[in-house]
Amino acid sequence: MSRTRMLLGTAALAVGIGLWFAFASPVDRLQGEFSRIVNIHAPFLWVAFLAFGVTALASIMWLVKKTPRWDRLGEASAELGVVFTVTGLFTGMVWGQAVWGRAWDWGDARLATTAVMLFVYLGYLALRRATPDPEMRARRSAILGTVAVVQVPLVYFSVYMFRTLHQTPSIRPDGASMPDEMVIALLVNFVAITYVYVALLFARLDVARAEERVTVDADLAGDAVKPPRLTEVEDV
């Protein structure tokens, strides 16, 4: 069994354990069943922050070393960050509709900054697709990947800077504002979803490496491997 398959298999097991904790833990008296959504909402967005942080680190490493593997890591992690930001925003919207009475509010600092962060990283992926030259693509995306990460602390601290709808974190260094069973369920899901990110990152890097090998082989072969135009082949 390959390393990636083993990682994905164990990640599925970790998700199963996380789901068990999420649905076995007690619910909040006011929020009811909707309080269970926090068990995936917060970990999804934590993983998105982590993914964009890894993209920034890989971008800086590419600018220093100029080796393709850092470019591949930056792209892979940004793609995963976008997936987890989308799922994180969606879970937040479902929770918000039930608890706040509205799914979205552009006036809320946390929601607005998260949406802007998502659009910027979608732009990062679009920029990569719009630049065919590998060297130029790596350089442009490394610069954007390094600059765009400033949004991560901006999103995180937005709830402290602007007192709008979104609450501050429930787990703080001085203690948690929820019972231990709920804290344990949340922490188990943090670990499980972080593990899913790591497994998917390895899977994505495998694909990137394989695709790059094919592209390099095709470039080396030049015109020799181009298929014949069937219209130019005369009937025998």
């Binding site: 069943e33 989308v86 879970t91 479902v94 899913v196 998917l200 899977a203 695709e211």
Partner: protein, 34 residues
Amino acid sequence: MSDLFIVVGTFALCYAVIIGYAARLHLRRRRVKD
């Protein structure tokens, strides 16, 4: 009961997106191999 249904649906949809992403990676890997 309907609240739990919405919550389970939300979990299912999110994990379906992640499983879909993993499946897409698997298909891309297989296409490159072929």
